[in-house]
């Protein structure tokens, strides 16, 4: 039997194929990473629908409002009151007027016409529909003044 003798010199490992693969992986992850949908909140489980298609032309000015429930790690609802989530902050629909006024003020300050801003509502499938209507009504109130609305749903693949 031939036994490899261990020389003192370390054997040269060809790194080229590994680097190739690693670059491929990086390119793959870079392409599929979507930094645009950062406003989507995981606590909201959207209803599914097959007609829900992303808009053909991307909206320039969109205000996303996430309306959902506080959930634990298993996804169980721990508080039956729906909240509007703004990152770590949350507010009920009833108390959302101040925040909505701030958002509206922000768009006016940067010189955007409120008629060009679409309020995208991401509401949980289990939220009461009256609350969504209330939220739309609040967005239209004096001092807020949003005019365009869109309801989000997850695209169901047939």
């Amino acid at each position: 039997m031939k036994i490899k003798s261990s020389g003192s010199k370390a054997p040269d490992v060809d790194m080229t194929p590994m680097i190739d693969i690693v670059f491929q992986l990086i390119a793959f992850f870079m392409v599929i990473t979507n930094f645009e949908q950062q406003q989507a909140d995981e606590r909201v489980t959207l209803p599914k629908d097959q007609l829900a298609k992303p808009p053909v032309v991307k909206r320039e000015n969109a205000l996303t409002l996430n309306l959902g429930f506080e959930k634990d790690k298993e996804g169980e609802i721990i508080d039956p009151t729906p909240y509007i989530f703004f990152g770590d902050e949350k507010t009920t629909v009833e108390q959302s007027l101040t925040r909505l006024k701030q958002e509206s003020q922000f768009y006016q300050t940067i010189g955007t016409d409120l008629a060009d801003v679409t309020v995208e509502i991401r509401a949980d499938a289990g939220v009461q529909s009256g609350l969504v209507q209330e939220l739309i009504q609040k967005c239209q109130e004096e001092g807020v003044g949003f005019q365009r609305f869109a309801l989000k749903a997850t695209q169901k693949v047939q």
Binding site: I26, A40, G130
Partner: protein, 167 residues
């Protein structure tokens, strides 16, 4: 100017790969960790009249809106669906029936004049406690139909009725 001379022995110059591989692995791990698998999201435009929705809205629609009424049971599930006052049931096929009714209504509108279809509105009137998923199902049934990967659009102007405040 200093000109680099070739290695006099003609040997290949060894490149230090380890630092590059370190950085590349860091990048790989960063992208792997930041990856969030999100299902593609779409949306439905809602054509809400300006001003308070409770007030009678004046739009350019000459035709009365199609009315979709949704009643909820105590748990917020759909108890009954009506299209212009006609019950569509609640046996799991109600939204298909609504879709069919909308198709027939749009078809008869087209017979009068194709421009009428663009002006026609649908007014959705849900009970306050009805779960939001049924709203999306109703909007979808009014918006159109998916056939063979192609969407046939029925009505694009959809609005909500004033809030039905019976909690």
């Amino acid at each position: 100017m200093k000109v680099r001379t070739r290695n006099p022995d003609g040997d290949k110059i060894e490149m230090q790969m380890s630092s590059m591989i370190d950085v590349v692995f860091q990048l790989l791990i960063f992208f792997m960790l930041t990856l969030k698998i999100i299902e593609p999201e779409g949306d439905f435009d809602i054509n809400m009249p300006l001003g308070t929705p409770a007030a009678a809205s004046v739009t350019d629609a000459d035709l009365p809106p199609f009315k979709v009424r949704m009643e909820a049971d105590a748990n917020g599930n759909l108890a009954m669906l009506y299209f212009n006052g006609n019950p569509m049931g609640n046996d799991g096929q109600e939204f298909q029936r609504l879709n069919r009714e909308i198709f027939l209504a749009v078809d008869s509108l087209k017979a009068i004049g194709p421009s009428n279809v663009d002006k026609q509105e649908v007014e959705i009137e849900p009970d306050y406690r009805l779960h939001y998923r049924y709203i999306i199902a109703a909007i979808s049934a009014c918006s159109g139909k998916m056939e063979g990967g192609q969407m046939t659009r029925y009505i694009s102007r959809i609005k909500f009725a004033p809030i039905n405040d019976q909690r």
